[in-house]
């Protein structure tokens, strides 16, 4: 009797499991079908309309065709692929403007809906696209997202969007930031900023946290804009050695030295990295002005500094002669060795 009951129970359980399995399989099957249909529709759009997009972007007087307007998500995905490919590979202001206008008109409603999605990945994708395609009409929708329980990554994307569409709001947000980002993340944000907005970070520089300070200096160097030379030279007076070294690195990246006076005190700096950077920077000044200082650096206690000074001297047209002359009168064995090594290497590479 007990066995009979157990068998019945077993059968019921098996039947239930079977039904669940069938249900699960059907779910998987329909999901797969949806995915296949989605991909097919997306690929069809790519196949049929990539050429039309090319014509619209590049041919003057080409009339915009209504068939390019997306009817659903698969077409939006296809347009994302097309636009991303263009943005990643081609610079053309006219094309960027056409994409912006199109996105504000026909993609806006899709991304607005995505911003409300419960899934983080969908919201993140929407935020990426809003920044990439410059859909400024969604700025208010983005601000509303701040009222929800957003993630750190989402807020980073929001900052990026503000930096593009409303720089003043971006600075405001950065000032009262609760979340802390890495230096590299700040650099990614700052690199997008227009010159007049970016330069504001140098005002009241010391009030920023260290990671922002470092990112500002590094970005200024990477932008290679001569307008930042004064700002970076002012930072050489900062007490923080790291800031001094980074400012010198930034100035080296920009590669224009108009006056060597602000740099001369650093030839005798206590920090060898600072002396090394001075040795590098003097590459941009004629040797006639820098030789006495480079000679001093050639006799430095640090190998890297000596090496850099010798290299900088050797890069000048008369550098090798100067180094040979130095060898005849110097009594510093380490400096002599370095000068000789650089001469040999330089002559060997000719």
């Amino acid at each position: 009797m007990i066995i009979e009951l157990s068998l019945q129970l077993l059968l019921v359980i098996l039947a239930l499991l079977f039904i669940v399995l069938i249900g699960f399989m059907l779910y998987i099957f329909f999901q797969r079908q949806r995915e296949v249909a989605f991909n097919k529709s997306r690929d069809l759009y790519l196949k049929d309309y990539s050429k039309l997009w090319y014509d619209y972007f590049f041919k003057n007087n080409e009339i915009f065709s209504v068939v390019l307007i997306p009817r659903g998500k698969p077409q939006v995905k296809a347009i994302e692929i097309i636009f991303s490919s263009y943005l990643k590979n081609i610079t053309n202001e006219e094309i960027t403007q056409k994409m912006k206008d199109f996105s504000n008109l026909y993609l806006k409603q899709f991304y607005e809906k995505d911003l409300m999605s419960k899934r983080w990945s969908i919201r993140m994708n929407a935020l990426y696209r809003i920044a990439e395609l410059q859909i400024d009409e969604l700025l208010d929708a983005c601000r509303k997202l701040e009222e929800t329980n957003y993630s750190k990554e989402e807020f980073f994307q929001l900052l990026k969007i503000y930096s593009i569409f409303q720089p003043e709001l971006f600075i405001q947000k950065i000032k009262v930031l609760n979340t802390h980002y890495a230096e590299s993340e700040y650099r990614r944000l700052f690199v997008l900023l227009e010159e007049d907005v970016f330069i504001q970070f140098f005002e009241d520089f010391t009030s920023w946290p260290a990671s922002i300070q470092f990112a500002v200096i590094d970005t200024a160097g990477a932008k290679r804009n001569m307008k930042y030379i004064d700002k970076l030279e002012q930072l050489l007076m900062n007490d923080n050695d790291e800031i001094k070294i980074r400012a010198l690195k930034g100035l080296f990246e920009i590669g224009v030295i108009e006056n060597i006076d602000p740099y001369i005190p650093f030839v005798t700096s206590d920090v060898w990295e600072v002396r090394l950077m001075i040795g590098k920077i003097f590459k941009y000044v004629p040797l006639a002005y820098t030789f006495p200082y480079l000679k001093q650096l050639l006799q430095d206690e640090n190998w890297w500094v000596r090496n850099q000074a010798a290299k900088t001297i050797a890069e000048d047209r008369d550098g090798i002669e100067k180094l040979k002359e130095f060898i005849t009168y110097s009594k510093d064995a380490y400096a002599l060795e370095m000068a000789q090594e650089v001469i040999t290497r330089k002559q060997g590479s000719r």
């Binding site: 050429k51 590049f58 990643k88 590979n89 053309n92």
Partner: protein
């Protein structure tokens, strides 16, 4: 009958003929423009000049004033001289003539009444032979009423033949690959016809063996590619014996001096950082091909 006086030390028509045929082959093979000048004395019937002596004097005068790369010869009739200029267009030939005419007017050893006339032929194809060239120029200078220091031109051989160029695009991104393909297919470069083929990775390009033909070959490729990246392809192509036929443009997302330096040292002709302006790419390609002919 007028005695034909041929000048010693100067190459004669028959000697030059075989050299000329050889040079004519280089016109196509090495895209070398040749320009010839034929010179003749303008005879003054009223003067009592001994033209056979003048011709000898003129021959030596010309010998002294040509460049080492130019080939001076005398025609069998003893009245014409020919000069072949290698790697020179009619602009240079014309400048040469102006210089020669000026020097001759100042020359005191040659009688003042002596004047020259000339014809210039710029050759950019091999639809001509030496005898035909001579005949045409002689005909052009045959008119005794032509003024002194007159210059005639023959434009029949200026038209360059169309050269077939293979173009290979190696780019992973399908959309951008198509953009490049369309752009290059629509480019119109005088005297060159493009045959554009696109590949999605390095391996499929190397498998086709299309790069083994002798055609001039423009390669537009990414530095990072699946299966045989751009640098591997670059190395393979530059190791080939006829590597000079490749014009290699490398595209990269890496905006670094080191990456560009490595690429140039590896043998690329252009290093282009992505994203770039397509019009700029077109302009660069046009300039590259413009350099092939003078």
């Amino acid at each position: 009958m007028v005695e034909v006086k041929l000048t010693k030390d100067i190459m004669q028509e028959q000697d030059v003929k075989k050299y000329f045929e050889m040079m004519l082959e280089s016109v196509i093979r090495s895209r070398m423009t040749i320009t010839t000048i034929f010179l003749k004395c303008v005879k003054n019937t009223s003067s009592e000049i001994d033209y056979s002596n003048v011709n000898t004097q003129l021959a030596y005068f010309l010998m002294e004033n040509i460049r080492k790369t130019d080939l001076l010869f005398q025609l069998e009739d003893g009245e014409h001289w020919g000069i072949v200029f290698l790697q020179s267009s009619d602009v240079e030939a014309n400048a040469f003539l102006q210089r020669i005419f000026k020097l001759l007017k100042q020359n005191r050893t040659i009688p003042n009444e002596v004047a020259l006339k000339a014809s210039i032929t710029e050759i950019r194809n091999n639809d001509i032979n030496f005898d035909a060239l001579l005949e045409k120029n002689k005909e052009l200078l045959a008119d005794d009423h032509q003024p002194k220091w007159h210059i005639e031109r023959i434009d029949d051989y200026r038209k360059q033949s169309n050269e077939h160029v293979k173009v290979s695009i190696i780019e992973q991104n399908a959309i951008f690959r198509k953009v490049l393909e369309t752009t290059l297919n629509s480019m119109d470069i005088a005297n060159f016809t493009f045959e554009v083929t696109a590949y999605e990775d390095g391996y499929s390009f190397l498998q086709t063996k299309s790069y083994q033909s002798g055609h001039l070959h423009l390669i537009l490729m990414n530095d990072i590619l699946p299966r045989n990246n751009g640098l591997e392809i670059l190395h393979s192509l530059r190791s080939m014996p006829n590597e000079k036929k490749f014009i290699i443009y490398m595209m990269s997302e890496r905006n670094s001096e080191v990456a560009a330096l490595n690429a140039y040292e590896g043998g690329v002709d252009e290093f282009i950082v992505k994203p770039f302006n397509l019009r700029l790419l077109e302009a660069k390609i046009k300039r590259t091909f413009a350099r092939y002919w003078l």
